[in-house]
Structure formats: structure tokens, C-alpha cells
């Protein structure tokens, strides 16, 4: 068990290293081919050769990529100083980098945005798991009926709708036309009611998409499980049908659902790009898109790393959880 964990954690670290390396490559090497000096993006309307040189130095842009990579890694664990001339900025560990656009370390930017994304993902997940799983089960139990066909067609329609379409349509109706909800993120601490009002549409639209997927998944799994021998055994014992479904069938049905949920949540932590863009939520995904637009490499790197980390860790958790749920799974 311990050996397994150590090995998995090692794999996690390795994966993240590769992710950093690749991200580094994309944003350092390719721009070099295109002949654009990254330092020029930090100077204003009136650029000054001295300023460009200073920024290049401060960012270490002249160092070989290996050195830059090493500096970044060291910064992650030990923090680092950005020095140019007499001015030194300290970025304490975990130092994901320092944004010269905002004159602040990246980590607080990320931690600032993380709650938004977590709030979005968490709230939506609650809705879609309940909605998707319940409809999926009911559909499975009413297989072939009008209910089933209707729900499954709607679910198929659901997975066919891009969120930036449903999102904007819902905004047009509920925010612009009816003015029921706000189209701007308010922090929970500032005003919980406003926060809630601003989150409803993102939650519902995102949850609708996922609920559709989960309903399909749950239905299919449930149908498969209902065909299992042990369900017949449970019935043969004289168990009431709600117990058969609720205890025996659910336990098996939830395993794949939980797996997918873990991975989806992991991916959503950094990946609710479209939802956040559509609803102007200042989460990680939006930060990433904005950072790509601004070539704010430290932020891109930070979000990418955080996202990849979330996915990999979610995978690990799912695997561990699997071992808890399914006694047949041995961690080795």
C-alpha cells in the first residue's frame, strides 16, 4: 500500500514535470521561432531599450531554457527572488512565478480565483450528480417507456448543446430580458445572496450538460448492473425492490459514476474555460484564457500546472477510492 502510494506519487510528480516542460516549450521556444521578444510585452506605449533589457534580465529570458526551467522548479518549492538593479521582489514558496503585469506573485492570483472555480464546479456537480443519477436510474427502471425515451433524447440533446450557446441563451432570457439574476460574479463574502444569484445560471447550464452525460452513463451502468446475477440473488432472497435497487444495484452503479465524477471534477478545476468565459466568472479558466491572450506566461503555467495537478491527483484519489469501494481491487 505504502509502496503503491509512493510509486503513484512519483508518477504524479513526473507527469507534472512533463506538463511544465511542455508548457515551457510552447511559450518559450515557439515565440522564439516567431521572432517576438517576450520582454516587449511588459513595456508600455513608449518603450525604452533599457526597460526591455531590464525585464529580460529580471525574467531570466536570456538564460537557457534548462536554467529557466530549473529556476521555476526551485521557486515552486523554495521561493525565489526577482532582481533587477536595486529592486528585488521576493516570491515565497510555492512560487508559481511573478506576474510583471500586475506586479504580484502568481500564487495569490491563483488562490484568489480557485474558490470561484471550486464554487462553480462544486455547485454544478451537486446539481448534476443528483439530477443525472436520479434521471438515469429512473430511466433504467423504466427502460423503453415514453419517459425513458424522452429523457434520453433530451439527454442526448443536452450533450449536443455547446455551453456557450445555452449559457448565452439563458443569460439573454434570465439576465437581460427578465433581469432575475446578475451577470457578474460577486464574492460570497461580499454578499451571499448576490453570489448565489450570479452562480445560478452557470451552475444550471453546466450541470445540464453534465447531468445529460451522467444520466446516460448512469442508465447504461444501471441496466448492466440490473442484468447481473447478484441482483437476481438479492431478489431471490426476498429483498424488497427498493432495497435491491437502493443497496445492491446502487453500490455497483455508483462506482463508475464516482470514477467519472472524480476525473470530471479534477478537469473542471482548471478547465471550466467555456463556462467561465461565457458567464464572465473570474475563475481559473478565465484567468488562463486571459493569460493566453496577454501571454502572461507565469499565469498560464500556473493554471496549467494546477489543472494538470488536479487531474492527476483526482485520478489518484479515484484509484484509492476504488480500492475502498471495491474490495476486489488491490493496490499494487
Amino acid at each position: 500500500m505504502l509502496a503503491y502510494l509512493i510509486r503513484r506519487l512519483f508518477a504524479v510528480v513526473l507527469t507534472l514535470m512533463v506538463v511544465i516542460l511542455v508548457t515551457f516549450g510552447i511559450f518559450f521556444i515557439i515565440p522564439k521561432w516567431t521572432g517576438v521578444d517576450p520582454a516587449t510585452m511588459y513595456v508600455g506605449k513608449q518603450s525604452d531599450a533599457q526597460a526591455i533589457e531590464a525585464i529580460r534580465q529580471k525574467l531570466g529570458l536570456d538564460d537557457p531554457i534548462v536554467v529557466q526551467f530549473w529556476d521555476f522548479l526551485r521557486g515552486l518549492f523554495m521561493g525565489r527572488d526577482y532582481t533587477s538593479g536595486a529592486d528585488t521582489v521576493h516570491c515565497s514558496a510555492p512560487c508559481f512565478g511573478y506576474s510583471f503585469r500586475n506586479e504580484q506573485p502568481i500564487w495569490p492570483v491563483l488562490t484568489d480565483r480557485l474558490p470561484v472555480t471550486l464554487g462553480l464546479a462544486g455547485g454544478a456537480a451537486l446539481l448534476w450528480v443528483i439530477g443525472g443519477v436520479v434521471t438515469g436510474i429512473v430511466s433504467a427502471l423504466k427502460r423503453g417507456t415514453i419517459w425513458d425515451r424522452t429523457v434520453m433524447t433530451v439527454a442526448l440533446a443536452g450533450v449536443s448543446l455547446p455551453i456557450y450557446f445555452t449559457g448565452v441563451v439563458s443569460l439573454a432570457i434570465f439576465s437581460y430580458q427578465l433581469d432575475w439574476v446578475s451577470n457578474e460574479y460577486t464574492e460570497f463574502g461580499t454578499d451571499p445572496a448576490l453570489w448565489f444569484s450570479g452562480m445560478i445560471l452557470p451552475w444550471v447550464t453546466l450541470a445540464f450538460l453534465y447531468a445529460a452525460m451522467y444520466a446516460r452513463l448512469t442508465r447504461a451502468t444501471m441496466l448492466e448492473v440490473l442484468g447481473e446475477d447478484y441482483i437476481r440473488t438479492a431478489r431471490a432472497k426476498g429483498l424488497r425492490e427498493p432495497v435491491v435497487i437502493g443497496k445492491h444495484a446502487m453500490r455497483s452503479t455508483m462506482t463508475p459514476v464516482l470514477t467519472i465524477l472524480g476525473m470530471d471534477l479534477g478537469a473542471l478545476v482548471g478547465g471550466a474555460i467555456l463556462t467561465e468565459t461565457t458567464f464572465s466568472l473570474p475563475g481559473l479558466g478565465q484567468a488562463a484564457v486571459a493569460a493566453i491572450g496577454e501571454r502572461d506566461l507565469p499565469v498560464i503555467l500556473g493554471v496549467t500546472l494546477l489543472t494538470a495537478g488536479a487531474v492527476v491527483v483526482a485520478n489518484l484519489i479515484v484509484d484509492l477510492l476504488y480500492a475502498v469501494i471495491d474490495p476486489r481491487v488491490r493496490l499494487s
Binding site: 516587449t40 513608449q46 518603450s47 525604452d48 500586475n102 506586479e103 425515451r149 437581460y176 457578474e184 491572450g293
Partner: protein, 589 residues
């Protein structure tokens, strides 16, 4: 089959509801009465003061979607920062607190009077007013002003702001900035002298008629050395103005309250009416417009104009709360002469004639939100501008393209059937992309095949500001906009057309215009201390520029901006790109 049909029908019914809901907007086309709403009237704050008042108190609520590039006075370059900075910074001289064109006049601020200019325009001397204090009550001295200005030299730490003063006072860059200064008080800059705490003297290597314009920028604000936090100063500047910083969260909010040590008697400019100034930054501009119209906030900090949706609603229902000022910006296309076939003037002329100016104006937002069709490259807010000077007939036929002349020009330039080129446009400015598409469409009609290249808007300095890159990537047409840093020919045109501004990186003279005659006009105008005479020289300079046919101006930009009914003492100021003069604003409680 039944089920399937049922679900289809339900689906259809559902989408019908959605469509119907959406269409209630689309449906209300003509029948509406154009109402003036509750405000004092359309353009009521244009060239006059709307709701004049001296009543103090209340909270003035700004909202915005874009935070400052930096609130550090020496680093901020965004127009709204300069306007807003007057809340917490003071300068020796500043723009007159008056509506419209009057605002362009310079008046003394911390100085008792305008400069005593001597030595043929190479020596500027100011005396400070009494009772100037920092927010902690200590007096503001001439050394604080010198130290503040010196910070401009520390471009390695404090990049981003305007460097006119540095270029004018120390063109060779001999001084290395206060952080590397060996002087005990870090006041090693030779070009500025502070004989005593109340006197400051500037010594220019050569005269510059616009020198006081440069001193009116926030970059010339005092900074006290013991309060200088270097690159982090912008997080919480130490106030010399009527308001001081209480809190600031980047991209979220800011609160300013009265600086108790600021004395009205020492400040002839700032009204300081509200007790508190707040700024809320949100991300969605449509939501911002909605909240402004609703009355939750008073004014848009960025003043980039109400978005399409808000504009339609506001024009329909709240026209009285709108102003439609000129911003001083020109939106244009420029042809780098290094890129073939734009090395030939006739090819450039072909594009100028072939462009559909009305379509470009529509793409910019139409006559109100876009601006007037531009005729030449000097905006009306700049002295010496003549919008009637229309060398390429931009206004003929309501801005329609002159296909005949375009074809003729094409023939002359040796490409009778047109040619291929690339339009470079920033990817983060949808309106600019729209103008690129418009230009592309009209050029296609005369046979010019233009490819649109959307480059990274944040890399402007390194992409279109890099002539080698421009040439290599065949950017024959670059779409940009430019506004004056100060309302003179130098403040607007010099970076665009003067040969010394051709740089390897961060170039602004995209056309690579290198005409000694034009350069000479600037030298001539700068040594002219009489504004009106200088203006005449700039008029001539502008004609020379036009004759090169390297620019295709689209519009003299105008914005539709919102003025809350709560606001008092409101007027737009030419000196601040047509924004309201923020320091003058008050609110009714």
C-alpha cells in the same frame, strides 16, 4: 415512434419559448418614443457644466471593467489613470478644470504660477504654494517633486509610463535613476535643481514648447522617498491630493477617502466634493452598462463608451444621460513602406481610395459610437488640426469608396488587377477586427486580396512595433488607433511620423516615415514657445504627412458615455480624451 415524436414536439415547444423570449428584444424596433429620460439632456455635459454645484458630501461610485496598468503616477499610461490620478496626486501645473476645449489650457497647481521661462526656453522655474502637504501632514517640498520625476529614469524597475520628461531633460540617458543614485538624498539628476524647498528649476538641453504639457502629466507628481516602495508603489500610492487610499484590491475594488491634510486653499484646481470615492471593477462590460443604467453606479471609470446593447437601450430610453464627446483618438490603417507593394505611393493611394469609409465607420460603431469619418491624421482636439482638410476625398459621397481613382492608382503602381497583402490587427479588439474585415471586403472589390492576421494584442510592441517582423510577415496594412498624450502636434503626431521614433522594438512609426522635412517641422514647432504659431507649423506638418499617403484614417473617434443623474458638476474634458473631469465631480445625496 410515439415517444420520439413526443419528445421532438416538446423540444420544439421549448425552443419556441426561448426564441419568443429573445425576440421581444428584436421585435421592438420602431414604435418607441425617444425619451430623454431623467438626465439633464443629451450632450448636456459637452462644452458646458451639467448640474453645476458646490455641494460637498456623498459617495461617488465609479465602476469599470479595466484596472489601471498601474496606479503608480510614474507608471500609469492609461488615459483614465491620468484623469483619476488627480484625486491622489498633484502636479506643478495641470489642465484647467473647465469643459471641452477650455480644459486644454494649462493652469498652475502646486506652483504659484506658470513657469518663469528663461534662457531661450531652456530654463523653467517654479515656486511652490504654501500649505502643500502629504497625507500625513508633512509638507510637500520641491525635492519630493524632483524625486518623483527622477523615478521615470528607473525604467528597469518602473517601466510602462510616459518617458517624455526623461527624453527631454536627459536625452542621452546619463542619469541612471534614483535606485542606482549615489547622491545621499538620491537627487542626482542634474537637469532639475531644487535651490530650496519651495523652488524647483528645470534645465532643458534644448527648448521644447510643450515642456509644461509634460509636467502636467501624473508622471511629474511628487513621490516621497521614504514612502517609495519601488515596483509596488502602485498598490498604494502616498497621497498628495485631496483623497487618500484606504483600500485597493487589484481588478476588484478601491476606496478613497478625504485626505484630512489637504487644504482647499492650497489647491485652485480640485473641487473635492464627495466624501468618499469608490471604484468597483467587474469583468463584464454589458453588466457594467446595465448597472450604470439601473443607477447602481455613477460613472464608468474607463469611459470607453457604452456597449452595443446598452447603447441601444440608453439611446432609446435615457438619452438625457448620455454624452457623445470626441476622444481625440484617430482610428486608422497605416502602410509600412518597407512592405511591398506599399513602397509605391500609388499602391497606398489605391487602398485609401478603395476603402469604404462609411463601412469602416459603421464597423467602428457608427457616427455616434464610432465617430466622424476622418479626413486626415490630426484629431480636432489638437491645436492646428483642420478636419476640413480632406486630401483624398474621404467625405465625398458620404464616405463611399472612389473605385475609379483606386483603379487608376492601381494601374499607376503597376498592379492593375490588384495585389495580395496582409492586414495586421490586434486579436483582443473585436472592433478592430471588424474594421479589418470591412477593409478586406471593400479592397476585394478593387482586386486587392487582403489576408487578416490577428496578432497577439499584448505583444504590440514586439510584433507591429518590430519593423523586421512586419516586413518578414508582409504586414502591408496595420490597423491601429492613437490618441494624444497631450493636445499638441508633438503630443499626438511625433511618435507616429518622426524618423527618430523608428525603433527596432516598440516602434510607433509603423509607416517608417522618414522625411527630414517633417522632422524639421517638429524641431521648428518645439522651439516655438507661442502655441498658436506652433499650431500653424503642425498644420503644415500634417499636410506633409498626408501627401505621403501612408495613413488611411477611419474616424475621429467619439464615444457614447453614461452620466448618472446623481452626478453634479459634470463636463467632458478634451484634455482627458473626452472623459469627464473626475476631480470636479460631485453627487447629490
Amino acid at each position: 415512434m410515439t415517444t420520439h415524436r413526443t419528445s421532438k414536439r416538446r423540444l420544439a415547444a421549448g425552443s419556441a419559448v426561448v426564441v419568443a423570449a429573445l425576440l421581444t428584444t428584436a421585435g421592438c424596433g420602431g414604435g418607441d418614443k425617444k425619451s430623454e429620460g431623467s438626465g439633464p439632456g443629451f450632450n448636456a455635459a459637452q462644452n458646458k457644466i451639467a448640474n453645476p454645484s458646490d455641494k460637498k458630501g456623498g459617495t461617488l461610485k465609479f465602476i469599470g471593467t479595466q484596472d489601471a496598468d498601474s496606479w503608480d503616477p510614474q507608471r500609469g499610461y492609461y488615459g483614465f489613470v491620468w484623469d483619476y490620478a488627480r484625486y491622489y496626486t498633484r502636479q506643478l501645473i495641470t489642465y484647467k478644470p473647465a469643459p471641452g476645449a477650455q480644459s486644454k489650457e494649462l493652469v498652475p497647481d502646486m506652483a504659484t504660477d506658470k513657469a518663469k521661462i528663461s534662457e531661450g526656453g531652456k530654463r523653467y522655474e517654479y515656486t511652490l504654494r504654501p500649505d502643500l502637504t502629504w497625507q500625513d501632514g508633512k509638507p510637500i517640498t520641491s525635492k519630493d517633486i524632483k524625486y518623483g520625476i527622477e523615478r521615470i529614469w528607473a525604467q528597469d524597475v518602473l517601466s510602462g509610463g510616459p518617458i517624455y520628461l526623461k527624453d527631454t531633460l536627459d536625452p542621452k540617458g546619463e542619469y541612471k535613476g534614483p535606485y542606482k543614485d549615489k547622491h545621499p538624498e538620491k537627487l542626482g539628476l542634474k537637469a532639475i535643481e531644487t535651490p530650496d524647498d519651495k523652488t524647483i528649476v528645470f534645465k532643458l538641453p534644448k527648448p521644447n514648447g510643450d515642456f509644461e504639457q509634460m509636467l502636467a502629466m501624473p508622471a511629474a507628481s511628487p513621490v516621497r522617498q521614504d514612502k517609495d516602495t519601488g515596483s509596488r508603489y502602485g498598490q498604494k500610492p502616498f497621497s498628495s491630493g485631496p483623497y487618500q487610499w484606504v483600500s485597493y484590491e487589484p481588478k476588484k475594488s478601491m476606496v478613497l477617502t478625504r485626505n484630512p491634510h489637504w487644504k482647499k486653499s492650497s489647491d485652485p484646481v480640485r473641487k473635492a466634493l464627495p466624501d468618499k470615492v469608490t471604484l468597483t471593477l467587474i469583468t463584464n462590460s454589458d453588466e457594467m452598462d446595465k448597472r450604470l443604467i439601473k443607477g447602481d453606479y455613477d460613472i464608468d471609470l474607463n469611459a470607453t463608451g457604452i456597449g452595443q446593447a446598452g447603447r441601444v437601450e440608453a439611446l432609446r430610453k435615457h438619452k438625457g444621460n448620455l454624452d457623445n464627446p470626441m476622444t481625440g483618438f484617430i482610428r486608422y490603417a497605416v502602410f509600412p513602406q518597407t512592405v511591398k507593394p506599399f513602397d509605391k505611393i500609388e499602391c497606398r493611394k489605391a487602398v485609401i481610395y478603395g476603402a469604404d469609409k462609411q463601412s469602416l465607420q459603421t464597423a467602428r460603431g457608427g457616427p455616434q459610437a464610432g465617430g466622424d469619418i476622418a479626413t486626415n491624421m490630426l484629431p480636432p482636439v489638437v491645436k492646428g488640426a483642420d478636419p476640413k482638410y480632406d486630401p483624398y476625398g474621404a467625405l465625398e459621397n458620404g464616405g463611399a469608396p472612389n473605385t475609379a481613382k483606386a483603379k487608376e492608382a492601381l494601374k499607376k503602381c503597376g498592379h492593375p488587377n490588384g495585389f495580395k497583402t496582409t492586414i495586421a490587427v490586434r486579436n483582443n479588439k473585436p472592433v478592430e477586427v471588424a474594421t479589418a474585415e470591412s477593409l478586406q471586403a471593400s479592397l476585394k472589390k478593387i482586386g486587392i486580396q487582403a489576408e487578416i492576421e490577428q496578432y497577439d494584442g499584448s505583444m504590440t510592441a514586439g510584433i507591429i512595433g518590430n519593423p523586421a517582423y512586419v516586413k518578414k510577415h508582409n504586414f502591408g496594412i496595420i490597423i491601429m488607433g492613437w490618441g494624444p498624450d497631450f493636445p499638441t502636434g508633438q503630443g499626438f503626431s511625433q511618435p507616429l511620423v518622426h524618423s527618430k521614433y523608428i525603433l527596432d522594438n516598440g516602434n510607433n512609426n509603423y509607416s517608417m516615415l522618414n522625411d527630414p522635412k517633417i522632422d524639421a517641422k517638429f524641431t521648428q514647432a518645439q522651439s516655438e514657445l507661442d502655441e498658436d504659431k506652433a499650431a500653424k507649423i503642425y498644420t503644415e506638418m500634417n499636410k506633409l504627412v498626408s501627401e505621403h499617403a501612408v495613413y488611411l484614417p477611419f474616424v475621429f473617434e467619439k464615444n457614447v458615455i453614461w452620466r448618472s443623474s446623481r452626478l453634479t458638476n459634470v463636463y467632458t474634458a478634451d484634455s482627458f480624451n473626452g472623459r469627464y473631469d473626475y476631480q470636479a465631480l460631485g453627487v447629490v445625496k
